[in-house]
Symmetry: C2
Subunit: 561 residues, 2 copies
């Protein structure tokens, strides 16, 4: 049940609420509350400064910002004394405001598999009192340093056509304007968001300069860039704090300041800091490294099809290749490459080349990066083909079939569903008239399925998906596999979550109530398991595993003797 | 001076010679010599078998075969007793015959930077007497095992258009026919050549089966595939013997035999052997791993151009990315990706899909692999553009300019010039009317420049290159840098050979006789060196290093004060 946190109301006033994922409602602050809120935060900041602490404002307390704010707030000198006072700042929108009161209670606004997240936030807010959250951006006036963690998305307008998309610069530009209007002139602003190369120097810096000029400040604003390399999962905090960082400043003073700041708050002793000459080099590093990863994954799509059609088990091929230390990062792509970064970062680079840096020959220069993202974005569609074919081999139709999709997240053993390959599988199956149920041990609610503006395939509108969604697609995700699979005609193992790795074929068939089609998207099934499924009368298909037909032939040959 | 190894001649007989790289002439054997040659080898084989040794014939004693033959011949049991007798077999063509007498003297027919090659061949031939070479393929009748190391090239007909090329199957097919006609029925044939996937099972096996049928042999020929992963350089022998192997057999007995053989001759204890289900899986593994590497390298071409045009030093970006263990194999591509394998293996895979495996949709399936090879093959052309622009900035023309190309080989600190990026640089510069001289500390003679059938760029015939070659291009390579650079208007550092890494700008300018254009293709120049070149009045350009303009501006600004 939802709890309400009430505040005195003026009669007739329109009251808006922001609802947390747990269902708790928080009233959006009204204009008359802002001044008191600033006084509250300013008092805390004044006290902190008197104790010799630096005041750091983190703009955006989402997936990265909330944890970064806590890491900074957790900073201590060699005597164990906190050296930073952190103010997490978030716009009071109905979508995001709830994060502020939650944080101020010492609760994490992000759900993470890493137990250190909750512990660190509670420690900093409740015990150390080095972390506070506010919706009032006037807190920027108090800052010695601002860390910008607002999102910069890349919106695609058509499935499999990355180049027609665009970088979403508005939120970042608005934040930079606010910062320019409010920060003290010697405050360092550090953009931590992954941005289109050139953004820091050619978009953000001019905004700050203009705001300073309007305020009559002659000094150049101190602006720097340093991207995070956060990885969802059990090492969430370490992936920010105990990991190699790259940074650069717009001028020598900004460079000096950002280097000092990062050396204070991160573990740069064990994970050396790289200081680059210009922000565009830092920005490009992030885009190139994620495009590299996206390329490595997309490369295998064609060999996955090659393998399926020619009796080759690509899983074994990859295992053999991984023996070479120089090739150990080759990785099977599963049903598509998701997560927040890999599907978009190459787009930010391509878009920057054309629109920030002004070149007209983007399509003749970028021969790999855009195509790679298109391949990764559409790879999941082939899973629906395999499901259709497996059902057909059993004399059934995909239309109207009861299909269980196991795994909604983008990666094994995390609950992050952003841009997951499974989403594309589900959308296409639903378009084909399938009744899809979803199971995932790490996901309670699949928010992405509620988005109405998801880019469609050319010639598609996803209309049927959204129509079906009303009744057939449940955005709630089941966690009881035995119950979820009951009556299913097909099961798709889309993510190699730990609980899926050692399931017994005989249990699956028993729970389902009879033989069913089994689709393996991630090399989850051993050859023995595949053999047993065939022996139990099931049909098996798998991404990149052409040797399955050979196992089927062997089972049939044996049975016919 | 060439020595002659004479043999008695019939009056009026046409005598042909095969000339070794050192200039020694060997008379090609005449038909009447074959019987005696077989008796010589058979006597040795008989004795070896009496001593309990297995007789292994290695077909092709080129780059891989000669060293593989020695590794097998070097095999000992746990008491240090040799267990294999190896016959290296090579066709007595004018191009290759010289390898046979050289090997029989205990001299390596391949020049390698690895001192173990010469020592091991001498040891096996002279001391252990476990290795002999012959031109008579009737030695196959003596074999317990045949290792096939003949080449399977991929010929491209047009520069930057890999898909119109073709696999050169003729030599392998002819070898398989000869093997099928001569081997004992229980002999294991092991194809070690990198081949188009499907070759072992769908091309070679049918040839052997047909030959066996013609000989009235009912048993299935024992055929297997196991590719080498040889790497030119100082670890040449180790890259064959002490490295992870993959193998597969056409049937269960062939698989058992190839596994046993490889466990005997290679270090499979420290480098575990992977046994796959079918040869097409082993063949595909090699093609995928080399295409992976080619993709990793080609990916950076577009970011290299991006960097050059936007003030980014891609060398520093790569260094920052390499900090991540999962990205540590990212590597700057230099002026193109050469060597024997990477420019062709993806071609073999693409060609196999269409022509051995019979699919018509190759171009819609293979979206990355073909383009990657085209990018790598043409990357060197841009170096000529940079040279042109650097000379123009100095008020000079590229046409008629004296240019020194430093580095002819495909990789640092090796002398292997096959498909090197430098070759493309030289060809384009020559087409543009440049007088190119070449320096390389590891290369004496650049054989590839003598080939007349090199695929041209569309719209090019390389005519001017071949015309110029008569007089202007010297296929001999200089080793005295001071002499080579005298009077040069531009120097191109194309390969990061050790002697090029710490050259002093003031020496280069002094030796050249004045300021010159300096082109860095491999991140060889430090920022300090670049600065000093500018201070000395030189012009500097570099692949992927856009920050050079900033250094130039700084030097000019300082000079104008």
């Amino acid at each position: 049940m939802a709890k309400k946190t009430a505040a005195p109301k003026t009669p007739g006033e329109m009251v808006q609420y922001s609802v947390s994922p747990a269902g708790e409602e928080f009233e959006i602050p009204r204009p008359q509350q802002y001044a008191a809120e600033l006084r509250r935060v300013a008092r805390r900041a004044k006290k902190a400064r008197e104790e010799g602490k630096e005041v750091v404002v983190v703009m955006g307390v989402g997936f990265v910002g909330a944890v970064m704010a806590a890491i900074v707030a957790d900073t201590e000198d060699k005597d164990g004394k906190p050296t930073k006072f952190v103010i997490g700042c978030q716009r009071p929108s109905t979508r995001s405001y709830w994060k502020i009161p939650l944080l101020n209670r010492g609760e994490s606004p992000v759900r993470a598999e890493d137990p250190e997240v909750d512990a660190m936030i509670e420690r900093c807010v409740v015990k150390k009192k080095s972390l506070v959250a506010t919706y009032n951006s006037d807190c920027l006036k108090l800052a010695d340093c601002v860390v910008v963690d607002v999102q910069c998305d890349y919106t695609k307008h058509e499935l499999g056509n990355m180049v027609t998309g665009e970088a979403e610069m508005a939120a970042l530009e608005a934040t930079m304007r606010t910062i320019g209007e409010k920060i003290p002139k010697k405050c360092l602003t550090l953009i931590e968001t992954t941005v289109a190369p050139g953004t820091t120097e050619f978009v953000a810096w001019p905004i700050l300069k203009k705001a300073f000029a309007e305020r009559g400040i002659k000094a150049a604003p101190l602006l720097a860039h340093s991207f995070e390399r956060v990885m969802p999962g059990r090492e969430y905090v370490a992936s920010i704090r105990d990991f190699w960082r790259v940074c650069a400043g717009c001028n020598a003073e900004a460079r000096r300041r950002v280097e000092r700041f990062l050396r204070q708050v991160l573990n740069t002793v064990d994970y050396p800091l790289t200081v680059m000459d210009r922000p565009i080099e830092s920005e490009t590093t992030k885009i190139v490294e994620n495009s590299y990863r996206a390329t490595i994954l997309a490369f295998l799509n064609e060999w996955s099809l090659f393998a399926e059609r020619n009796g080759v088990d690509l899983i074994k091929v990859i295992k053999a290749i991984k023996m070479r230390p120089t090739h150990s990062n080759i990785i099977f792509p599963g049903p598509g490459i998701g997560g927040y970064c890999l599907p978009k970062d190459g787009g930010l680079g391509y878009w920057a080349y054309r629109h920030i840096l002004g070149f007209e020959d983007g399509d003749s220069v970028f021969k790999i990066t855009p195509g790679v993202i298109d391949i990764n974005d559409t790879r999941g569609l082939h899973v629906a083909e395999l499901t259709r074919d497996a059902l057909r081999n059993m004399g059934r139709y995909i239309a109207g079939a009861e299909v269980l999709l196991c795994g909604a997240s983008y990666r094994q053993d995390v609950g992050d569903t952003r841009y997951s390959g499974s989403e594309m599988v589900l959308r296409k199956l639903t378009e084909m008239g399938t009744d899809v149920r979803v199971h995932d041990p790490y996901v309670e609610h699949w928010y992405e399925l509620e988005k109405q503006d998801v880019y469609p395939a050319p010639g598609h509108s996803w209309a049927r998906f959204f129509h079906n969604q009303e009744g057939l697609v449940d955005t709630r995700v089941g966690s009881d596999l035995k119950a979820a699979i009951k009556g299913a005609e097909a099961v798709i193992f889309a993510v190699p979550h730990e609980p899926y790795l050692n399931l017994q074929p005989k249990d699956i068939v028993k729970w389902a109530g009879g033989p069913l089609a089994v689709i393996d998207c991630f090399g989850i099934l051993s050859d023995d398991a595949i053999r047993r499924y065939f022996e139990l009368g099931c049909e098996v298909k798998a991404l990149g595993r052409g040797h399955i037909q050979r196992i089927k032939d062997e089972v049939r040959k044996k049975a016919s003797k």
